[in-house]
Amino acid sequence: MKQISRRTVLKGSAAALAVTALAGPSLAQGIDELVIAYNVNLPSWDPTVGPSAVNPTIQGIYQSVFDQFILQQPDLSPAPGLLTEWGWNDDKTKVMMKVREGVTWHDGSPFTAEDVAWSLTRAADETTGNPIQFIWSTLGNIKAEGNMVTADVTRFEPTIFKWMYFLTGYVLPKAYYEKVGPEGFEAAPIGTGPYMVEKFERNAFVRLKANPNYWGGKPDFETVTIKFVTDAASRVAEIESGNSHVTLEMPYEEYDRLKGGDAIMGTDAPISDIGMIFLNDIEAMLDPNVRMAAAMAIDKKLIIDRLLSGYGVAIDTLQTPDYIAYDPAITVPHDPDKAKALLAESGFSPENPVKFKIQTTRGFKPKDYEIVQAIVGLWRNVGIEAEIEVYEIAKHFELRAADQLAPAAFYNWGNSVGDPTTSTGFAMFGPSPHSVWDGEDLVGKIGPLWGEADEDKRIAGWKEVDKYIAENALVIPLLQYVQPILHAPGVSVTPHASGALLPHLMKRAS
């Protein structure tokens, strides 16, 4: 047996000391500064212009610093925020909004109705580059008086107040913005939100300090550092090493591996993103039997169980159970025998399959390519031979806007306000650049709903549209995604159904 020398012991001790001295924060320590490993970078601090304004994942960071006109609760429902009351007049020609009093900006200046009126006017101004300008421009002649803001309705938009807690629906500080300009605002942004920006290193991190005067109550954690860790493996390493206390969006296998341990806990809840297959009314998709067979051949539950470790909710319309127009009565059964029979009616069989192309991204969403591979396998059993084409998400957007998608194309659709207009409406209305189904029947059914003033009638109308779409298989909804969040035991995380990870909803675990 080899003897351990004094020198070996000394060497070992020195190495152990060095490791201890170098080691990062321990999970066992109390959390003074909450560290979150976030999955996207923050390109710009203005939440109303540019590509980041319409990036759903970034909204969680924006909502930590800025308030939206109306607060959105974790279950997607609206609640009083900077606006405490809102609504139309009886003939829906004007909107009225009451502004919360006693709120201050991060620089201590008072928040007023002028800020709301200016933010709405700026959003509607096409020269500012707000991507949602077409919605905001449905309001005109916006005026502030006391703590009330009024505006004329230039075109009735039933979802205008929903946009006030959706993309670009943020209130910015009029006086400060006009004083410092866009570049000054980028350098030192202020809002009325729960956290104030203390330090920002682009592509690296943002350090936030709790807003002691936040109208919703001071957040639990005094300091929050959000690190931008875009690689999923690195985020897993961050939480596993204890360098971060919270992270999100990792492979479900990793989530399952880590969440059961003593050092890391897991929170998973369905969010408003769905996976779906766009059907373009070209080539084989002009045949209703092929479309319905393609929809019926897919075993959604099997795909969720096998590929997503059970994290997902099967859906048969573009509405998730959390959306206002969800109708559980509308279903498309998994029935491979019926699918075979339908294809046989059109002269197709496993020996003589119908052929078309399906496009998908690879790695843009969890297991996107693998899901499409599984679907193609299920289709092959009933007599559909689909060729997979992998493309980048940017190409998908471009092809979809030009109505040049393949007969089938996998995509994920986010709709964090849960309104049917922003799911079925934009995805399926032919003239929309997001839709590739141009059938006049559907255009005729959706058209009148855009300006429907009676809310009950509007929602009932969208349910009818969803039923028509399901009966004719004009799109194949697949699943609602579940967002995995890993966190240290010292943190209690409240997931938000929009998918936004919000630090001010995190509390110290008792």
Binding site: G24, D46, P51, F134, A237, S241, E392, H434
Partner: protein, 336 residues
Amino acid sequence: MKLLRAILLRLATMSVTLIGAAVVVFFVIRIVPGNPIAMMLPPGASEDDIARLTAHYGLDKSIFEQFVIWLGGVFQGDFGTSISLRQPVMPLVLGRLPATMELAIFALVIAVVIGGAMALTGVRYRATRTETAIDVANGVGLSIPDFLWALILIVLFGVLMPVFHISGRISPSLDLPFVTQFYVFESIARLRFDLWWDLLKHMFMPALALAIPLAAIISQLLKQSLKETMHLDYVTLSRTKGYGENHVIVSEALPNAVLPTLTLIGVQFTFLIGGTVIIERLFSYEGLGNMAIDAVINRDLPLIQGIVIVFALLFTVINLIVDMTYALLNPRLRHA
């Protein structure tokens, strides 16, 4: 005089290379699928909205018109405004370049130290088990790409034995007094060794991941060169004069054997900088490579153009420096 003429000739060649790179990148990124407007289209946007946004970013003009406008701006030092970051391109790019340069230089130093030490040890103990072990280590170092080394290092020293930081360039909680973006150099100049140590703890793993394959190449080539040199007459002469083996290797053989390795290091250094793109992403390091990936994802055309031009400039300058250094160190070229 000849040297000056050679330098002027190289500078002229560099200009042509840069203009060529500018033309290629401008047209290629407009030909590949995906455009920035499609990336930012919200649900419900109409054709008019697309046209409005396209005009807002100046993409409604023909590609040739866009090129003329962009080139005109470039000659005046204006590389355009980033679509996603909404700031002038050149300050953004130059702001990130020092982080990448510091990382690349640190990686190069590690590679030279490890590679050089392995080569010298291999030659000193040639035809023994030590040399065999070094050859095996070289093989392993070469056969595993840098991004895989990065993942291995993250697991080893970030998770299993959390010694180094996994992400970022510096700890967010530290107050930074820096006025330049060269944090490492400035922390030394300010005698702020706490910051310097924190920077090193962040840079070590990404730098090592980049360095390992290059260290293996250096080791292999230098060892081979040294072994060939060890058979030359002047080396044998120094042995017969009674010099020890270590002296013979380091003082006699190494100066001549190092020249081919030096050229190789210059060429490999440009590859190493290219490797920073994926490594910076894995370690969330706030360098130019990380910014480049975001720019590509967002189809931020002005930013992509700016980054490519700066990378091209960097590569040509490095090649020029390597050539000049080689000329200065090689007596045959120096006196030619």
